[in-house]
């Protein structure tokens, strides 16, 4: 890109800065669109799960509802409560946005499609989200409201404690792939399911489970959405926000969902790897990647509309008493496993295939159970049957 800009007569420095700005704008637009669309997706899926319609009026099947919501929120008055710390109140939402947007720098959209493949990409990914904690704390404090303050403090305590098991559990993929760069981790996996990171060893499965639970908590998703538990705290740290600033919080929350899915996919679920014959089809790789991300996001939304909320003490004891020791076991176990099987890659492959088969078996059993409950409990939307109680 730099070269193209230099060839049309810009000097190198301007060209470099221009290309940086252009790439940032493209990524920002993708980010905003994804965040907006995910709000709609979540509402439609939750409607389906609760036997109601959800937003379906704006555009075909409600597909433009998120644009309408965005316009409405931008046009609304931006209230700042009396007695609030005005400066901090104003800048707090952007910390959340920047924290999530910052992860996009190392986001591997597919093979070779990455803004900057940093040598410490994965580490950068989990540390830049510190900005989100910051924004939440700032919003909570500057609102000058008990509920906001409690929400902000809960969020900080929760995210800081869950960062430790998440970081520890990510050490297992780092051990297996031997690199911290997102592209390198993705390249160390194959396209077949048993070549994915999650099936590479029994300890990788353990670390995947810990990572997934921990990142749900870090993204403030139910069952861990205590910072904005509406039955206790009105709506937590964003109680006092309205208009555009509320939209920014909203957007970063749903973009965080995408980031969660993306990190899970690229580290544990094979990323956008393609079979050897199809190597080089970048668009196909991006599509494969996005499809996997969509599945993970669906599971997260599904969990949200299925599970009840945790209590704060249960949340903390889960992190410190179960997930953290589990992550240590996974790390040490993986190191021992690699030492034992380092000269026999065939054993590793057999174990990987076996674990994949066990997973398929569990999935089929689970699917059969779910099918029974869906068939028995489904009530047609807006039919007389739904009024019978």
């Amino acid at each position: 890109m730099d070269a193209t800009l230099i060839s049309i007569g810009l000097d190198p420095l301007t060209a470099k800065i221009t290309s940086m700005v252009i790439i940032s704008v493209i990524v920002l637009l993708a980010f905003v669109t994804i965040g907006g669309i995910l709000t709609l997706v979540e509402r439609r899926i939750s409607g389906f799960m609760q036997s109601r319609l959800g937003p379906n009026r704006v555009g075909p099947q409600g597909a433009l509802q998120w644009v309408a919501d965005g316009v409405k929120l931008i046009l609304k008055e931006d209230l700042i409560p009396e007695g609030a710390d005005r400066k901090l109140f104003r800048i707090a939402p952007y910390f959340c946005l920047v924290g999530i947007f910052g992860t996009m720098v190392v986001f591997p959209w597919g093979k070779g499609v990455i803004v900057a493949d940093l040598n410490v990409g994965l580490f950068y990914f989990i540390s830049i989200t510190a900005l989100v904690v910051f924004g939440v704390l700032m919003a909570g404090w500057s609102s000058n409201n008990k509920w906001s303050l409690l929400g902000g403090m809960r969020a900080a305590a929760q995210i800081v404690s869950y960062e430790i098991p998440v970081g520890m559990s990510l050490l297992v993929p780092i051990l297996i792939s031997g690199t911290l760069s997102m592209g390198g981790i993705m390249a160390s996996q194959g396209w077949l399911p048993w070549e994915w990171m999650v099936f590479k060893s029994p300890f990788a499965v353990l670390s995947f489970i810990i990572f997934f639970i921990g990142s749900l908590a870090e993204a403030n998703r139910t069952p861990f959405d205590l910072p904005e538990a509406e039955s206790e705290l009105v709506s937590g740290y964003c109680t006092e926000y309205s208009g555009f600033r509320y939209a920014v919080f909203f957007l970063s929350e749903w973009a965080n969902l995408f980031v969660l899915g993306g990190l899970t996919t690229s580290v544990f679920l094979g990323g956008g790897n393609l079979p050897g014959a199809l190597e080089g089809f970048t668009i196909l790789s991006v599509l494969v990647y996005l499809a996997k991300v969509a599945v993970v996001i669906f599971v997260v939304i599904w969990l949200r509309w299925t599970l009840p909320r945790f209590r704060i003490d249960q949340l903390m004891s889960l992190s410190w008493k179960y997930l953290l020791p589990g992550a240590f076991i996974a790390f040490l176990g993986q190191a021992a496993y690699m030492l034992l099987t380092q000269h026999t890659p065939i054993v590793q492959s057999i174990i990987a295939v076996l674990m994949f088969l066990v997973f398929v078996f569990v999935l089929i059993r689970f699917g059969l159970k779910v099918r029974v409950s869906i068939n028995e409990q489904r009530i047609p939307v807006n039919s007389p049957a739904s009024n019978v109680s």
């Binding site: 950068y124 830049i128 704390l137 700032m138 404090w141 403090m153 900080a156 305590a157 960062e163």
Partner: protein, 165 residues
């Protein structure tokens, strides 16, 4: 002709010094704590410019994301933080002045006497492998001593909390 690293260097320098002044002189304790975040972030920027990518990320993760959040957390639990009795500009005794001046002189001597590498790499090289080897081979004893110290700190914190019951 200024390159991008120079631009960023001046940006981070102004950020660290300017916001550092806010941290030191702000009357609102919590605003100081929030401003400290930018200072820590700017220092991470210096590490990046020096080619120490891993160190920069650790700086953000541990100091900005961990220590500073805990600091704010603690400040929030303190009562009556928005109306301090004294400004942080007030004179706090001769000993403080002596301590400050001594620290400054010591740092100046160290910075001037050391033969610091001024090499700025054009391309980021992976530093994690060498760091890991150094920590676990050459400097394994200091590394273990430090981790032992942290362990002792954690255990004593737990003991202190248990006594409160």
């Amino acid at each position: 002709m200024m390159g991008i690293p120079e631009l960023f260097f001046y940006f981070f320098t102004i950020m660290v010094i300017g916001i550092g002044c806010i941290v030191a002189f702000s009357k609102n304790l919590l605003r100081s704590a929030f401003a400290l975040f930018f200072v820590l972030f700017g220092v991470a920027g210096f590490y990046v410019l020096l080619g120490a990518d891993f160190l920069a990320i650790v700086q953000i993760m541990v100091y900005a994301g961990g220590v500073n959040v805990l600091l704010i957390f603690g400040t929030m639990l303190t009562s009556d933080i928005s109306t301090p009795k004294t400004s942080s500009l007030s004179f706090q005794g001769t000993l403080t002045v002596i301590a400050g001046v001594t620290l400054f002189v010591l740092l100046a001597i160290i910075i001037n006497s050391g033969n610091w590498p001024t090499y700025v790499p054009g391309e980021m090289m992976p530093t994690t492998k060498d760091l890991g080897k150094l920590l676990l081979k050459e400097y394994v004893l200091p590394f273990e001593v430090v981790s032992f110290l942290l362990l002792a700190a954690i255990i004593s914190a737990v003991v202190l909390v248990k006594k409160g019951d």
